[in-house]
């Protein structure tokens, strides 16, 4: 059964040290709840970006909340590089597990399908492979002459993302962003912030059902309007480019980042 909680309660339900799966900015990122995680001083996260990170991940890194980062990229999009991420790479304060997008999906698919690994084409010859001890080169069991990569399953403890709506039964509409569906299937629990809560079951409408994450995967829902801001929410609202530019400028220095986060904290 899905619990309906406040955003602050949800932030308390995500423990330090967990493996946290996050959706990309402008799709289903949950910077609103991430700010509350920072406020409450979360630490030692193993963040899995599915498959890339943006402002919410940069903020978690800037706040010192991330021990390990598994991602195919971190970027602020048009606002440029991710300043806290670049700084943390330079000073070695996070453990990096660089990936490539489809390998993250393959790892999540392995977890979704309950298998320990997935094969994936490509990658051989990339230094990304050299740096990953959880990926291996094997032979195609049906053709010894072909070398192929296998990646191990990625099972986050908690998937956290923002969505347009949930119903009061715990079903969550994601629309065509099925990478978030995959993330939820692969994770032990899914925590979801939403813009709205529907009294009517989202599964009743056959035309809509295909884009709905069933309640069996959803551990908790919290209503948090504009919970995707300042990044966007797919097909609902675009990113607030000015705010992200403002963040990008501020976060160029650790002090600027702290001031930005404090400013948001008091405004929230």
């Amino acid at each position: 059964m899905t619990d309906f909680v406040t955003p602050r309660e949800m932030a308390e339900m995500i423990p330090s040290g967990c493996k946290l799966g996050l959706a990309p900015d402008d799709y289903a990122a949950a910077p609103g709840l991430v700010r509350m995680l920072i406020d409450r001083g979360i630490r030692d996260l193993h963040v899995v970006c599915a498959p890339i990170g943006g402002m919410q991940v940069d903020m978690l890194i800037g706040a010192g909340a991330v021990a390990t980062l598994e991602t195919s990229a971190v970027s602020l999009g048009e606002a440029g590089g991710a300043p806290c991420f670049s700084r943390a790479v330079r000073d070695g304060s996070i453990r990096l597990r660089d990936a490539t997008c489809p390998a993250v999906f393959a790892g999540l698919t392995a977890a979704e399908k309950g298998v320990p690994f997935m094969p994936i084409r490509g990658i051989i010859g990339s230094d990304v492979l050299e740096k990953r001890d959880d990926w291996k080169v094997t032979s195609n069991p049906f053709d010894d002459a072909e070398k192929i990569v296998v990646v191990s399953a990625i099972q986050p403890d908690i998937a956290l993302f923002h969505a347009p709506e949930a119903d009061r039964f715990g079903n969550v509409r994601l629309g065509r962003r099925r990478e978030t569906m995959l993330l939820a299937h692969a994770s032990k629990k899914a925590f979801v912030t939403v813009e709205r809560i529907s009294e009517v079951s989202l599964l009743d409408d056959e035309k809509m059902a295909a884009g709905v994450l069933p309640a069996i995967y959803v551990s908790a829902v919290a209503q948090l309007e504009k919970g995707g801001w300042p990044t966007g929410l797919y097909a609902e609202y675009p990113r607030d480019g000015q705010e992200i530019e403002k963040y990008a400028r501020a976060a160029r220095s650790p002090e600027g980042f702290q001031a930005y986060v404090r400013g948001l904290g008091s405004a929230a």
Partner: protein, 248 residues
């Protein structure tokens, strides 16, 4: 007469030429010029009654052919349903290796870029990968990349049907010979000569003394870029579109 063709417009037009014949082209995040080039080919083919071009722009709601999430792009490529894609690269070397991770030693790179995205995969599976890097310099086009996000060439024990097709910068256009594993200078953009290219390219390549000039778009194509394409770009790249020449 309208304002002269800008360097960016020339690159957009050149991209549309490099895509000629593709049925389905996808464009990654943060790639306004590749997106514009793909949109331009679609518009030109439509105008001329040629084959429909499917353009999939990651991050777009409107220019999106997928309904299965971001992984569908990669599946689609693996199925052979994607003919062309673009890769950038903080560094690109003469073997077609691409570095999207950073300079210096991994993991504590002094300069860190976003990361490899889908490059290590799509480079193997998409027949026509166009390398696009605006900055043509010894810093960006290097002898040997500091980190291989995606390799340009692969031995025969690895399945590969895709790879580098061309390299386009703000100064020149190269093709890539997959057998030889080398670039070939095809043309230099107006304002650049072959000596400029040689002096600003960190790797060796064929046809060094190339005298061909990259062709400019005609007036009709230029208005298409400044009109319809600029409008189509606005959804995903409002800042980029705003900085392009055009009416209003």
């Amino acid at each position: 007469m309208s304002e002269a063709c800008t360097s960016r417009e020339l690159m957009i037009y050149t991209i549309s030429r490099l895509l000629k014949g593709v049925r389905h082209v996808a464009v990654g995040q943060s790639s306004p010029m590749p997106a514009a080039g793909a949109m331009l080919l679609r518009a030109l083919n439509q105008r001329d009654g040629l084959e429909h071009v499917q353009v999939s722009i990651l991050g777009s709601v409107k220019h999106n052919s997928f309904t299965g999430g971001a992984e569908e792009l990669f599946d689609c490529a693996a199925q052979g349903r994607l003919d062309a894609f673009f890769l950038g690269g903080g560094q690109i070397d003469g073997r077609g290796n691409v570095n999207l991770v950073g300079t210096g030693d991994y993991p504590n790179n002094p300069v860190r870029w976003p990361g490899s995205f889908g490059s290590a995969y799509l480079y193997f599976l998409v027949p026509r990968v166009i390398l696009f890097r605006e900055e043509h310099s010894l810093r960006s086009l290097v002898e040997r990349v500091d980190f291989v996000s995606a390799p340009g060439v692969t031995d025969e024990t690895v399945y590969r049907r895709g790879g580098p097709h061309a390299l386009l910068t703000n100064a020149a256009l190269f093709s890539f010979d997959r057998e030889a594993g080398r670039f070939r200078l095809e043309s230099t953009h107006p304002g650049y000569g072959w000596r400029d290219i040689r002096g600003t390219t960190g790797f060796s390549y064929d046809n060094e003394q190339c005298e061909v000039t990259t062709p400019l778009p005609d007036e009709a194509t230029l208005s298409l870029i400044r009109g319809r394409i600029r409008e189509e770009l606005r959804e995903c790249y409002p800042q980029f579109a705003g900085n392009m020449p055009g009416p209003g």
